[in-house]
Amino acid sequence: MTPTDLVDANLLRTMIVVATPLLVAALGELVLERAGILNLAIEGMVTLGAAAAFVVLFAMAGLTGGVALSLLSAATAATVVGLVLAYLCVGLRANQITVGLGLLIFSLGAASLLYRAVVGVTTSPPRVPTLTPEAVPGLAEIPYLGTVLFRHNLFVYAALLLVVPVWWLLFRTPLGLRIRATGENPKSADSLGLPVQRIRYGAVLAGSALIGLAGAFFPLVLTGGWSESTVGGRGWLALMLVIFGRWRPWQVVAGALLFAYVDAVGFVFAATSRLIPVQFLQMLPYVLAIAVLVQVYQRAQAPAALAKPYDREARY
C-alpha cells in the first residue's frame, strides 16, 4: 500500500458506490428525526429492504421491470415496519427506544423468513447479476475523473441526487417547515393548528420507504446476493451519519462519502494488504464513528423533541 493507492481512481469509484445505501438510509432517517421520531430499527429495515429486493430479483430473474419492482418491494416492506413504528410511537406514544429495538429484531427475523420462503433451502446462496455500470458518453473518457464519477449505473446517480429533493422539501417548502416544527416543538405546532400526529405519521412512512430503498442497493449494485450479514452494521452507520451531519442533508452527504471511503479502503485493501489484517480495516468505519461522535456530539443540535412522544393533553 502506497500513498498514491489512497487516491486511486477505482478506490474512489468504489467509495461512491458504497456511499449510496448509506446516504439513502441516512436521508430517510433524517426525515424521521426531523419530525421528532428516533428510529432504532434502521439496521433491520435496511436488511429487510435488501431481502425484499433480492427475492423479487431472484423470482423475476431476467424479466423486464424486475428492478423497478424490487425497488418497490423494498420500499413497501420497510414502510410496513414504519407503519407499526408510527402507530406505536406516534399514535400510542410508546417509548421509541424499546419499540425501535423490538422492530429491529422483528425486521431481522422477517428478512430471514422472507428469504427462506422464496428462495428455499439451498446449499450455495443464489446470486443475481448486479446492475452494470454505464459510461457517460464523452465524460467517461476524462482521465481519472471519468473513472471516479462517470462510470456508474443510473441508480447510483439517482441516489446521490436524492439529497436535492430531500433538502428542498425540508428547508424550502412550507411542508418541510411544518415537519421541522413538529420535531422541534410539537406543542407550538399543534397550537398553530398543524396536524402534528398526521405530519409525524407521514414523515415516518416517507422516511421508512427511503430506508427500505437503501436496502435494495445491496443486491442491486453491491453484492448481487443476500445473507443475514449483507448489511452488516451499515444501517447503524447511517444512524450515526445523521448525528455526524448534525441533522442537515448536505453534511449527511459529506459524511456518507467519508464513511464510504473508509469502508471502501477496507474492501479494496482486504485482498492486497499483507501488512494490516483485514479485520482491522473492517473495524475502521465503526472506530471512526466513535471518534466522530466524540468530536461532534457536544455541539450537535438535535431536534428538540427527538424521541419524545407528543401528548396534546399533557401539561408541561
Binding site: T98, V99, G102, L103, I105, M283, L293, A300, L306, R315
Partner: protein
Amino acid sequence: MTELDASGALTPRGDADVEAASGADGALGAPPGAARRQTVWADVRIYLGAVVVALVVNAVLLLAIGADPLVAYRQILSSSLGSVAALAQTLNRMTPLLLGSAAVAFAMRAGYVNLGVDGQIYGGAILATGTAFALYGLPAAVVLPAVLVAAILGGGTVALLPAVLRARRGVNELFTTVMLNFVAFYAADYLSTGPWTDPVAGEAISVPIGAEARLPGFLTGGGHIGILLALPLVVAMAWWLRRTRAGFEFRAVGGNPRAAQFGGVSLVATGVVALVVSGLVAGLAGGIEVTGVHRRLILGLTPNFGYMAVLIAVLARRSPLGAIPAAFGFAVLIVGSDSLQRSVGLPASAVFLFQAVVVLAVLYFEVRRGGVLAAVRGRVGR
C-alpha cells in the same frame, strides 16, 4: 434546537412513576391491597395476551413456509423441555440471555441503555480464551476462576469507553455501545482466523482451550453449571438495587436525575458504575460461553443475544429478578426453533420474529393501559 447534553433527549428517564404505578417493583411504591391485586391481574392479562398474539402471528408465518403450526409448537416444547438433556440445553441457552438482560436491566435502572452486550460478550470471551491459553496445563482450581475473572474484566473493559465518553463528554451511550459491538466482533474475527486459528477447521474458530479451563457439567447432555453461577449473581444484583442505600441512590438517578443530584448523588459516578457493572456482568456471559459451550473462541458466539437481552429487560420491566422467567421463555423459544431449523428448515433467526412479536404485543397492551393511567395522573397533576 437543543443541546444533546448529558441529560440527553435520547435517554428514557424519569419513568419511575410508571414503574411505581405498574407495581412491578415490589415493596417500593406498589399500591396496597385491592388496587395492587388489580394491577397484578392486569399484568397477567398483558403477558397472556401478548403470548396469544405471538402464537397466532407465528402460526400464520409457519403456515406460510408450509409447516403445521401445532406440530411445530409441540416440537418446540418437547425439544426444549421434554427431557433432562433438553432442559440442560435450554438452561445453557438461558445463561447468556439471563446475564445479558440482567446487565441491561441494571443499567436501565439508573437511566442508561446498554446496547453493547454483544460486544461485551466478545470482549469477555476474548480475554477468557487468552487467559486459558496462557495458563494452559495448570490445575483447574487455578485456571477456571482466573479465566472467568478475565472474562468479567474483558466485558467491563469494552463498557469502559462508553462510560467514560458519557461521563466526560456527554456522548450518548446508545451509539457508542452499538459501534463497539462491531469493533469487538472484528477483533474476535481477527483472533479466531489469525493468531489463535485452528488450522484444521478452516473457518473462524480458535484452537480449543485446555480441559482445565472447562466449566463442570450439570444435568446431562452437555449442560454446564453456568446457570448456577448466573442465578445467584442476578439475585445479588436485585438485592443490591432494592435493599442497599447505594442501590436506592442508583435508582433515584434513574427516576429523577436532577432531584438525585440535589440529594447529593454523583451523576457521573452513577453513570460509570451503571455501564461498567453492566459490562462486567455481560463479560461473564462471554466467559461461560467459551468455557462451558464452545470450549474455544468462535465467531458465532452471540447471535444477537445483546438485542434480545434488551427486549428481555424491557419485558422484565428493568427488574433483574423478572429477567429470570423472561430469559427462560426466550431460551425455550431459541432451543425449540433450533430443532425446527433441522426439521422444517425454519431459518435460525426466524425466532427473532416470534420474540419481537411477544415484546411488541406487551408494549402495545401496556401503552394502551398506560394511556388511561397517564390521563389519571394528569388530572391529579404532576
